[in-house]
Every structure is written in structure tokens, then in C-alpha cells.
Symmetry: D2
Subunit: 342 residues, 4 copies
């Protein structure tokens, strides 16, 4: 890379894990960012990271002084302390970890749902780096069509969601094959709690007064299961709008198909041309068939129909390791950059 490279120098924290590797893949050919430092645990420090060709360093700000931004794929057990240290050192942190997601002063952003939440950062004069978090993988898929629907038809009062989540969501080595081959595990620790609270922050009014405020209408009941799928979380949703007047199925389809976000209008390089893809075939979306649409940055929605109990039912699919993880952080960074935040 020549010294005249005008791309923003960035680092990756937690380079050896599956999300870290995905960061390396997405950033290795990026038009706006160039990776200049990669960090992992002390145990890996000194080794060469194949994807970037860089020598791995410990996750200490002293080794990331030449970075304007770091992307964090750190495990929650260490992410809190390290990310705070990076921010204190003036480095912006784009984090996939859960630690700061519900922090009142940290934006929780799904790039194709609530990129406007980043605007609040313009008024933060802390002299430190920002911490920007992306959401849990399942939450990410869920909120994209919800945002489209709320924008058009008003608040959602009740929502039931049952997920069928891919094994890649558990990292590596992750789920033992003896547990999941020709089997379903109807429980993922902590996942239902995240899905019941994170959407309320993402779909909330944003930063009001001195904190990010939750959507106080939306109540969610989530059931999360693990299934023998490599990539792609499928979710089945039933929901009820608050308003008495209900949209038709045609209204819903039209709303979702015409949905567009700042990711597109700001011409971010990773943005999908369509944030939501509506499937009208009865048996779609399917994870193996549809997860890679729009390079994994789109959410597929299908089986849109009336619910016997609430207003509406549909099935959605999100690529859990692209839009649902590293891809969100990268696209969030592109949006933040386009907004002049870096």
C-alpha cells in the first residue's frame, strides 16, 4: 500500500475468531478502509495473520495508535474493558460484542434499520472515540422489516417470533456435531433475552435528552432454536400493530418492497441495492437458497399473510455472519464515515 493511500486506517480486534475473519474478508478489499493492525489474545500475538499479512498484536491501544477506527470481534468476556480503553485512547470502536449494546449513551445500530441513530454522535463532545455497536444476529434480521412497517403503519404493539438459527452463529468450534446433526436444540443461552430487548432500542426514538430511549409500545416474545444449517437465521413472526386500521397484505408487500435507507442514499459501498427482498413463492425464503442475496446484506421476507390471532404473519431470513454480524459493523462504519463522524 503506497503512503498516498487515502483510505482510513483501521484495526481489527479478535482477528482469530470467526467474526474476526469475516471482518478481514470484508475489509481486505475495501475502498474506504485499510487494515493496518490486527489484534488477538496474548497467546496469538506475534503470529502472522494470513488474511491480512499482518503480525498479530495484543489488544492494547498502544498497538493501535495508527488506527482511526477499530472493528471489534472480541468475546464479551474481554470486550468491555478493551473497547473502552480504545475509545478512551481516541479510537472509534465498531463493535459486534454485546457489552455496550444497551448502554444508554452508546448507539445500537442495524445499518439498514436505524442508521439515523448515529446522528446523535455529532453532538457528543467527549474528545474520545465513539463506541458504535451492532445488534445480535437474530435481532438484526428482525428489525429491518419492522422498521419499514413502523415507518409506514405506526407502532407495533405485540410480536411473537420463533427462530431457526444456523450453527455459524455459535462460532468455532461452537456446536458439537453430535448435538446438532439430524437434531434441533430448542435453546440458545441469552438469545431470547436479547431479542426481546434490543429491538426496542433500535426501533426507539433514538437519543432523547441524555440517552437512547426504548420503544415503549413494542412487546416481544421470542423463542430461539438451533438447527442444522451452516449460515442463515430463519424467523417466523406474528405481530399486531397498535393502530385500529390494519394494512392489507398488499400494503405490506408494497411497503417492504419500496423500503430504502440511508445506507443506499449515502451510497455506502457495502449497502445492498435492496435492504428487503420480498418473496412471493409459498415456500420461500429458504436459508441455503436465499442467504447470499445482495451479498448477505439483504433481509428476505416471505409468506406474508394474515394471522389468525394478530394482524400479520411472515417468515424472514438474514445471513447471520454478514448482515447479522461483521457486515453490520462495516456498513455502520461506512455510514458513519459518510456522515462525517470520523
Amino acid at each position: 500500500m503506497s503512503t498516498s493511500d487515502s483510505r482510513i486506517p483501521v484495526g481489527i480486534l479478535g482477528i482469530t475468531g470467526t467474526v474476526g475473519q469475516r471482518f478481514a474478508q470484508l475489509l481486505s478489499v475495501h475502498s474506504q478502509f485499510r487494515v493496518v493492525a490486527v489484534g488477538a489474545s496474548e497467546r496469538s500475538a506475534g503470529k502472522t495473520n494470513a488474511a491480512t499479512g499482518l503480525t498479530i498484536v495484543a489488544c492494547d491501544p498502544v498497538h493501535f495508535g495508527n488506527c482511526k477506527v477499530v472493528f471489534s470481534a472480541l468475546d464479551a468476556s474481554v470486550a468491555g474493558e478493551i473497547e473502552q480503553a480504545m475509545a478512551d485512547a481516541g479510537i472509534h470502536v465498531l463493535s459486534n460484542a454485546k457489552n455496550f449494546r444497551m448502554d444508554h449513551r452508546v448507539p445500537l445500530v442495524v445499518p439498514t434499520a436505524n442508521p439515523h441513530h448515529l446522528d446523535a454522535l455529532k453532538n457528543f463532545n467527549t474528545g474520545k472515540g465513539f463506541i458504535i455497536t451492532n445488534a445480535n444476529c437474530s435481532t438484526t434480521g428482525l428489525v429491518v422489516p419492522l422498521k419499514a412497517l413502523i415507518d409506514k403503519f405506526g407502532p407495533i404493539a405485540q410480536l411473537h417470533v420463533t427462530t431457526q438459527q444456523a450453527i455459524s452463529g455459535a462460532g468455532y468450534p461452537g456446536v458439537p456435531s453430535l448435538d446438532i446433526l439430524e437434531n434441533i436444540v430448542p435453546f440458545i443461552s441469552g438469545e431470547e433475552e436479547k431479542m426481546e430487548i434490543e429491538p426496542r432500542k433500535i426501533l426507539g426514538p433514538g437519543f432523547v435528552g441524555d440517552k437512547f430511549v426504548l420503544d415503549d409500545t413494542l412487546r416481544i416474545s421470542a423463542t430461539c432454536t438451533r438447527v442444522p444449517i451452516i449460515d442463515g437465521h430463519t424467523m417466523h413472526v406474528s405481530l399486531q400493530f397498535k393502530a385500529a386500521e390494519k394494512p392489507s397484505v398488499e400494503d405490506i408487500i408494497k411497503c417492504l418492497e419500496s423500503y430504502s435507507t440511508e445506507a443506499q442514499s449515502l451510497k455506502c459501498p457495502s449497502a445492498p441495492s435492496r435492504s428487503i427482498i420480498v418473496h412471493t413463492e409459498a415456500n420461500r425464503p429458504q436459508p441455503r437458497v436465499d442467504r447470499d442475496l445482495e451479498r448477505g446484506f439483504a433481509v428476505s421476507v416471505g409468506r406474508i399473510r394474515k394471522c389468525n390471532l394478530l394482524d400479520l404473519k411472515f417468515t424472514l431470513l438474514v445471513h447471520n455472519t454478514i448482515l447479522g454480524a461483521a457486515g453490520s459493523s462495516v456498513l455502520n462504519a461506512e455510514i458513519a464515515h459518510a456522515k462525517g463522524l470520523f
Copy 2:
């Protein structure tokens, strides 16, 4: 078999399909029934059926004159006509087909849920054979814990259910492997409709006046999906009781664990010792691990917990080709026999 065999002579209709073969397996060593005739389409007539050693005949009552009872695994496209002809000829029909399930004068019986519905037949003086249907495989699993809960805590007003159904439910050749390996198909034709109506008949008050009456409180919203599992349908349920006073999770567990039915009290040979098995480990039931409990005649229930929206959530598992299909018909026949109906 000696001529002094006192077991009831029975036939199997549709012997060549997967459910027919399961009938042959369950009946080949039965203490109360002996298979004396097996039928299939004209195309198979004349061949020898390996499981029973009998020559296959066409499904015409003339070939089943020595049978008191026939078990029908016929396809819905032909079941209606043939089953009616058998009953008209004075032969009792235990059917796995959907054709007569919602017929007002035909009992729809899950043996460990509503065996008392069979009592109505005692007053039927038609001079013909009875038709007794069992339910759709998913419905079967669902209604067993529901019956226990309704008996104890009163009517259920609302119920959301999302299923993860095994490929064996589609018969053979059934689901192409290219459709389901490392994939989910979020649609099964006609399945959601069955799950939304059949439970209301099974859980209804039974035969009142001149017909079987539906439960008029229960409303159901079902989402049905196909997953890469050989046997065992998993379902995730959220429900709300009608009553204002709500049972605790402990009340629910106690209710389900203490549930017993006529299948047990009548000492039917196929009856499970426990109709419901409650799992308290957070990650159970699992289809590969738990489907064969009680020889496939039990329903497993786990993850019993409060719902954020309704009263209660839980996960259940039923062996779809045993209790969910042929096993129900066999156990229904045992109950009918114990009640003196044959």
C-alpha cells in the same frame, strides 16, 4: 396361526406406503389384533407383502369380509370412497387419512387426549361399521398437553404454534434431498389449516345432539416448517388461558406430569406409561434424543416458562409416524376394543 386364535381379525389398507408399513410393524406382533388381509392399489395387488407374508388385494370390501376392523393408511385421494365402502359393509375403519376428520358424525380421536369421544359411538345404531379418524401428526402432538392443561386450568383462548417437522411426515419418496439438506422449507401445504381447526374438534365437548362440536373458545395461529430431521415434530407454543387467574410454571409442570388417560386406565397394550414427559433441562426435548421415549407414544414437553405476551410458552416433541400417525390408530382401536365397541 391356529384356528383357535382369539385375536380380532384386522386388515390394513394402503400397505405399501410408509404409514401402511408402520401399521404392519405395530400390528404384526399385537396381542389383540391379527392381520388377515392387506390391501393396496390394483397395481400392487397379487404381490406378496413381506412384513405380513400376505398377498396384497385390492381395497374392495369383498376382499376384507373376514376382517372386523381395517386400519387405513390410504392416500386422501382415494380414502374417502374406500373407507365409506368398508364401513357400509359393516367393517370398522380406523383411519389415518384426513377425509373424514372434520365430518360431524365421525370422531377425531387422539388416544391420549380425547378417547372419551369414542363413547358417542355406543349410541350409533347404524348397522354399519364405525369410522374413527386420528389427527394430523402435528395436531396430535399439540393436543395432548393442551388437554391436560384445559382439564386443570380451563379453556385456552389464544395459541401460537410454530412447528419444525420431520421429513418422514411427507412419506416416501417425499421431500427431495436437494430441497432439505442443509435447508429449511418454511411451508407445508395444508398443514397450518389442519392445525388451526383439528384441535378445536379434539378439545371440544364431543358429540352433542347430533354432531361433534368444536371448542368455541380456542383460536390458533399455526406456522409449519419442514426441517432436515428424519423423525419427530418439534413445536413451539405460546398460549393464553381464558381465566383471569393464571397457573404458575410449577402448577403447569405438576399438571402435565400427573396427567393420565383412559389409554392407561383401560390397560391398552400400546399405551405409554406416561402420556406426557416433562423435561426440565433447558435444551430439551430434542428430536433425535427424545422421540423414541415410551416407544414413540409419549409427547415430550420442555422449556415451560412465562411468555412475554401470553401466559405460557413451551416446546413439545411428538414422534410423527408413531403417535402422530399409525400408532394413534392402533391405540384408538385398543381403546375402542376395551370399551366394547367392536
Copy 3:
């Protein structure tokens, strides 16, 4: 398409099957060919083919008069007659069907193994179209490294091969999921016979006198199995050279890595940059990980080591629906075009 489009007009026979669809995918954006007609059975004629936007016609030469070349994905039951009729009408046929593979006057060509066999066609003055066949999917993967080895180290005398073949090789609906989920089927009808004879034609001296001649040194013993893999045939090979002097493992690796073919030297657009990729990690190649290398046009080889009985063992992987089927025909056509045969 403007009338000034200089690309060669081609047709696809058997457009509705899986190989036909793969042809459509590979040819829809091709720089040298443009699809102007698509054929299928009478039953599909008149429908619109989504991938090409063309109306499906019956597979009669009368409907393919504007085609210089047709790509045939026809089933063997009809391929023989139709392909012959096309050739008789002056249309060149690139066929994936087995019917003419062992015909003495028809080249059987794996594009990255024996493209020079096409040269014989230059001397065919029949006034008709050529028929050019590609090999069985497993054979295709096998012969690529064999050709590299034979070119360098001389004839192979004995070869054992055991395959683990993907379900996509059986087409759609193909293998029922009940047969293959969490299972292996140790038999594929006719497959071992093809693998034991086709390589002898491909690796033979080519057209000598009035016919294509078989390699008379090579003897093959093949065992073919079906495994629960979507795409990618894996094969385990043990072989013995005829020569007394044996190459070392390092010699073998060097030979395979430096292998290049006319597909590359003729700069065919679909040619892989490397026809063979050598893996040195002990646990590679793996079908899900490596099948898409070089867009599915490369053969991966790994675990190169001494055999306890013969000279050499290795594991190879080929993408069965790309290089192993439609891709071979397309690349064969590109080579034939580069050689001036059309």
C-alpha cells in the same frame, strides 16, 4: 440483443432439468455464445424459460435452425435420437448425455484433460454437425490429475478409486431425503462401469486410423457411493505407474502444480487459471470448503502420499455440476471455437 451481436448463436436442449439450468446460467452472460433457442419435452413447450426469457420449443432441429451449436442436457432415454438428428441437420452438439460417449467416432473430452482429442474433428468431412461429449461427473474429476501424471511419469497400470458423490449428481427430484439424510447409499446404478471405461478413452491416444482408441494399460476398479453433500464429488485414489522408477511425493506435487492445458493457452473465457489445485493441509480438500475454487472449474487434490500397496494415494474433489457436467461442455465449446471447429 442487437443484430450486430457477433457471438455464436446456440441452443440448449433439456432446459428444464438441473444440468439444463446450469447451462443457462453459464451461457446467459457468455462473451462468445448467445442463447437463441431452448428446448425441452413437448409437455414444457410453449412455456417461458425464466433464465433466458425464451419460449421453450420441442427438441426438433426445425426449431434450432438458427443455432450453430446446441448444448444437450437431455436424459439418456431421448438424447441419442435427438442429438443425432441435430448433427444430421448440421448443428454441432455438445452433449452431457452418456449415449455417444463410447462411440468410436465421437470425441469424449474433459476440457482440462484431453482437449487435443478435438483436433481429430478437423479431418471429419461429413457435412454434418459434430457431436462432442463430456464425461461422467466422477470420471471428469479423476482424469484431470491422471493426465498430468501420465504426461510426466508415463502410463498408469492399476487404479483403485472410491467415490463419495453429492446428491446434485442425481438431478431433481433425484435422491429422496429419507434415503440420504444421516445416511450413505453405497451404490449408484451404472456409475462404476462408467468410471472403469471412460477414463481409458479420455486418456487414450486419441483418434487413430478410424476411431478413438482406448488406453490399453490402464485398469480401474471403482466403488461409487452417494453421501449427504449438496455439490462436490470426493474421490480416494490409489494407483500404480507402469514404469519401474517411481516419482516421489514431491515430484507428484510439482507435476500437478505445474500442469497446464490448452484451455489456458487458448485463453478460453471459462478456463480456470489453475486446472489442478494442490492442497497440503492434511484434512483437505473438503467439498463444502473447496468445491467452488476457480468457479468450480478446478480439480482439488490433497493427501498425496505413498500407498502401502501401490505407488501413490491421493484424494481429489471436483464440482460435479460445473466441471463435472455443464461446465465441461461449455469449456469444450470454447476450445472447439478457439480451434476453429465451428
Copy 4:
């Protein structure tokens, strides 16, 4: 258990692993043995083992003083030292570990192949306990039909075998699901080496002079792969007899079907009624369908046919965690007991 229980008191070493749990399952209802002690690492000591109801102790002979026999499911990293200590303390050891398999004075016994190797122990007057090892899981399946063939047709000179091994062979957590779902791993560390040497001891002449002697005719080339199967190792074999006169396929079938061993003649309770089951359907044996035949104690053989290169080819299947592991040790103990060795 009453004090008058005449069953032999036994212990299990390594109770917490998958093989240890299988031992507990096989021995918990055994007619000749009763489990009186269970051992594991210090970390697990003091906990209650659910399967046996016993408190786990450390694997020190002092805690197994009331045992005549111990079954060892220990990891190879600790098995050597502990098993030797048990034997030194006068306790007989039936071991599934690899440590002593190739020891010149320790029998390596597959119960339905070479139970006569146990006879040598009658002349061992060491005053210590015996160590009896069972073979590697793949080796176990392979040698059963080989022994039948060698007994009838004489020595085997050459043998190629390629395996498709189940994930349960790697224990728990074992193979990560991300490595094996819709994938094949063409390498299992150390497995090929075991398969190339262990059969030569098992099929050798037994204890001659002062040591167990290897078969000096048999040469084996093994290729071992991991496939997405829960239980059941499938193997594809090509072999050549030493003798010039070759048996026909019918001879082979007759030989395998009539094969019987001391396990049967000594009426051991775990012995299968048939040690080898010959399948004549072209597409069998299949792991999911056939692995549980004879409670997992049989080896299934199918696709018996001529080889293009050697004399004979066939496919075999063994249940890797029953006959291939714990079941062999249990059946070996039954045979040793019947021979009066305890």
C-alpha cells in the same frame, strides 16, 4: 443389590466420556457383571454418576479393590499408566484404549474374530491381572469378515480399504458441526496407521513362543474419512487372496453367512446370533438403516462382487460405538469369563 448377588463385581474407568457411558449402558443390566465402582479424572471425583447411581472415584487401584475386572474407556494420554497399575494390583483390565494394543504380550481381541487369542492367557502366571484390549473401531468391523474368509480360503495378500466414519467415533464434543455438516473431512489422525497394523495382529497366528505374532502375508492400504453420520462406520474393501484358486461370489456369500464364533458357541449373553449379516440388495448396507442389526454386535456386508484388479470387493458396516468400542470389551469379558479366565 443383595449380598448374595453372584455376578462378578466390575468397575468402569473413564465413566464420563462417550465410551464410558456406553459401558454403563451395556453393563447396567448385565447378567454376569455388576458395576460396583466408576472412575474418572480427579475433577469429576465425588460427583454422582447418573447411569449407575455410584459416586465417581479417582482411577486409582485403591478405589477398585472390590472389582475383579475393570472396563477402561480412558483416554490414551492416561490409559497406559492407570491400566498397568490396575493389572499390577491384580485386577483384570478390558481396555478400549490403544496403548497396549500392539504390546507383544497383550491380546488384541475382536470378540467375533479372534476370541481364541484369549486362550494364551491361561498360561500366563504373572500373579497380576490380565490386560485385554479391543481394536480400533474401524479395524473391528474389517477383521470380522476377513477372519471368515481367511479361515475358509486361506491368507489374504493385499487389501485396499476406504472408510466413511461416523462422528461418534471422535467422542464428545468431538467434531465441530461447522467442520462436518454438509461436508466430508478426508483425514482422521492416526486412523490409517491403526487400520494397517492392528488387523495383522488380530488375524495373526496368536501367541507363539513369547509373543503375539503378526500375520506376515497381509498388507493393507487404508484411507479414512469422516462423514456426517451419527453412528456406523462404512468401509469399502478390495482384496486379493494369496492362493491361486479363487472363490466365486457365491462361495464368499456362503462362507460369510455360515460363519460362527466362540462368542456364539460359548453362549455369551451379548453375542449376536449372526456375527455377519450378508445383504444382497444392491444398495445395502446403509448406516442409518443397518447399524443396529443384532443390537449393534453384527457386521453387515454387502455389494460382494468381483474386483477389476484384485479378487473381490465388498462394502461393510459396523456400529462403531457398540461392536467397534465398548461392546467388544464387554463381549471379550464374557468370553474370557466363559473360558474360566477370571
